[in-house]
Amino acid sequence: MKSIYNNLKPFVLEQDIPTLQKHITSGELSYEKLTKFYLYRIRKFDRANNLSLNSVIALNPNVIQQARQKDKEFLNKKMKHPIFGMPILLKDNVNASDMPTTAGAVALQDNNAEDAFIVKQLKKQGALILGKANLSEWAYFFCGECPSGYSAIGGQTLNPYGRKIIDTGGSSSGSGVATSANFCAASIGSETSGSILSPASQNSVVGLKPTIGLVSRSGIIPISSTLDTAGPITKNVIDNAILLDAIFGEDKSDSKSIFALWGNGFYVDELVSEGLKGKRFGAYKEMLEKEPLYVSAIEQLKKRGAEIVVIEENEDIKLPDFLRLLNLDMQKDLPIYLSKYADDKVALKSVEDVIDFNLKDSIHIMPYGQALFKGIVADKATDEEFTLIKEILKTNGKHYFDDFIKTNQLDGVLSINNYHAGYAAVAEYPAITVPMGYKENGAPMGLTFIGKRLSEKQLLQWAYNYEQATKMRKAPVNYN
């Protein structure tokens, strides 16, 4: 007789959220069974074995009971959104009750904080919080020379397409890895500059970095209130649209929050309705010359009716003081998070406090040092200087894309992985990455669409059309 796990495999592995909901409606699956399925897989693969990925840092101890409740509510027809009952992993810089929020840092291991705004949004739509995903500690703004996906609390996240060989990307490393390995229905990541796009593309999943302000940052451990955003990481574009639809929304306590009306939301049939015919995209000459997977992806877009304009990197546009922007923002933003959103038991008040805490046991707490944290406290600027840094960066970022877009009447720009994430970050523009194949060593790569402010719906449509035409994602073989 087959085990419960083996019986459920065909109904769950690699299935998109609408299909999972269909199986639940038909009775082949329940929210409780689905939740247990993911828990079982995490236990089987994630830690302390020769396939371990170290992608999950904490689990919600009440999730099975909450899943049973969802099954009851489903029978009472309380499901209103496709995210209902779906087990979601959150990057461990997103506050969620039932578990500590640590950013992977020992200094925050007792930070039992209230739900972040986006977690409240998820719960309002009925989603289940399965647990927390490992990350590059402090969202990779901590140690200088250190690997992606390492945190003191969670250990070293590893890539399921090549453990210890292929970089996981980061800082949302656990979110990318766990989603790819089918440890959750979908996950939340966060990005300052490339931290969603990089791990999503490195792990062959879809990652969307939204326009700054579309998704609230309240209750998320910050790097930079100028550039930070949360965003969805999923196995496919449909799920990405569903998750984005569940989390976006105006938050009055977030200074950059945008009130956006999106009609029927992101996820409905609109994804399919608009094709690629007549869409004009800029493709980088330098990438076309060097990357065969990019060339194939461009050919696929052409076949679907897209028009491609070859553009050249504008090397005259620089991003001066980019690192200083992060330094100066974090000096202010971390103390705000600690006083407003952290557990009262957390005695730390500033970056300096964290540095001092880490010195108590440096070998265990910070094996790769804390060079970037030291850089934060060493940096000084007047308010005027800081405002100027931000203005120049934003102007240059927008200039970088807008020049191409205006001159060539483009709808969007095509990149690879997180290669242009820095420019998109300072321009505050959205971007989505979709699997576009694998290098000879098996490392996944993503085709990245970058659009103008609030072009998320178009990005999802383009990405969906490309995904359906190519179906490039292959689940990692050792984790089936």
Binding site: L39, R47, Y150, G155, G194, F322, I363, A371
Partner: protein, 79 residues
Amino acid sequence: MKYFYYLLIIVFVFSCKKETQKTTTSDIEDKAVEVDSSNTDISAISTKDFTEFKVLDSKYINVDNFWKPFNKDLEKYIQ
């Protein structure tokens, strides 16, 4: 004289050992940081091809405790 040489060797061995420990700790300490305003390495906080890991497994997660709340519920999930 023979005992003097033994003593010298012992002193030498201990002093070497102490030196090694010192190096290990100082590796972790970062050197003085200067703010580099010309740094435009914007990929620095998302991707680094890094395959030499100092630590793999978490020293802070106890796998048995991690699974305690779920053991009973997952009993039937034998493969």
